[in-house]
Symmetry: C2
Subunit: 245 residues, 2 copies
């Protein structure tokens, strides 16, 4: 038996999210079917991050166990061959030791949230960015974001349906920068709460358009109450960009 790690890119609009669900086609189901199609084995795939419907991944990590003896290039190419959707693609396969776990061994997850910040909506980037027409001040957003970095109770920035045992997490980095017509919010932590980055984005957008002062972000964090935070930004701006082990 070999434990395989795979790195997967996907376009979130084509799926109900990472996790297998009764009500639609998930990335997990697409990949599990491809693995079974290739190997004939019934397997379970474990992902590093359970992205929501519409959320994209440049490099999601996942693992599964295979009895079949094969090599890494064959795993990658065969999975791409057997995938019944072009909205996902396996970038890499790596043989791991048996104690590797895509979810529990991860030491850092990195995300990018893209805002298209110009008057005209996006034609080429439609479904890949959050379009905000009003001009945003990226410097004010970055400054406000620094109040969120560190070890905090993030109850304000957590979906009500979040299943994590504790709302306390350590946020390593939260940076905001303007790149042409886009605002890029990048976030890094060992792990995140459900919708945490999308609520960060929705809140920082209020700072960027001067509806909120930086002070109010501190107050919101201290409130430990979802209703004190900004709205949840739409999923299509969010990308899982990297998982470190």
């Amino acid at each position: 038996m070999t434990r395989w790690k795979i790195i997967v890119e996907y376009e979130g609009g084509g799926f109900v999210g990472w996790q297998r669900q009764a009500n639609g086609f998930s990335v997990q189901e697409a990949l599990e079917s491809a693995i079974t199609g290739f190997s004939g084995e019934q397997i379970t795939l474990y992902g590093a991050g359970r992205t929501d419907s519409g959320v994209h991944a440049l490099a999601q990590a996942a693992h599964f166990d295979l009895e079949k003896e094969t090599d890494a290039d064959t795993v990658r190419d065969a999975l791409n061959h057997h995938l019944q959707t072009k909205s996902a693609s396996v970038l890499e396969a790596v043989a791991m030791s048996e104690d590797f776990h895509a979810r529990f061994s991860a030491t850092r997850r990195s995300y990018l949230y893209r805002i298209l910040n110009r008057r005209a909506p996006g034609a080429l980037e439609r479904g890949r960015v959050w379009h905000v027409a009003r001009p945003l001040d990226a410097t004010a957003m970055h400054s406000a974001a620094q109040n969120l970095v560190g070890n905090h109770d993030f109850s304000t920035f957590r979906a009500l349906r979040c299943q994590a045992k504790s709302p306390v997490k350590t946020l390593d980095q939260l940076n905001v920068a303007r790149i042409g017509d886009e605002i890029h919010i990048t976030a890094q932590a060992r792990s995140f709460l459900h919708n945490q980055i999308r609520i960060f984005a929705g809140t920082l957008k209020l700072v960027g358009e001067m509806a909120w002062r930086e002070e109010r972000v501190r107050t919101a964090l201290a409130a430990k109450d979802r209703s004190a935070g900004g709205p949840t930004a739409p999923p299509e701006g969010l990308y899982l960009t990297r998982v470190d082990y």
Copy 2:
């Protein structure tokens, strides 16, 4: 009457191309309908470049005349409001003098051709790049491309159905560079022949995978015969990026 220049972004997969046709929805038709919807006037829209079906634009330029008195911000916002597709977006509107012509006044057109050059197909960039799995040598491609720069008879790099009177054009720049997993071919000239950049891309790809030596590109150009050139690369990798006046 005011002559308006508009700058338009579009996702080429949503259209039969720039030019109005009986057999499908063109960018020209989409925009002309939006202009009429906004103004009530029957107008003709003139584009700087007649991109083919599937070819994208980051900044196509076009012009039309309007009796209605209005301002640039209103033109841009009203056209985006009246556009019946989200595959196109008007980035900017500018009032011009009456002797401006989007097609004939253009002094330079810039294009980008994107090749995704990695083993795995693109999920996020599907329909936006040409996927070439075999590794390409961008340095060899760039070197070969330099043989095409300058004033030449480009009959080898011209679609058989090209309607230009003369196959002689001056190519100002043709550069090839690797950017991560992508090969970017950028081309600049006052004007191009039909499919010229896509045939450049299809030919340079042969050089990149070592099927052709640089020498053969020179021979092909000198042959002045379409059958001496490489294949026409697919439309989805091509972007009209800029028009200068």
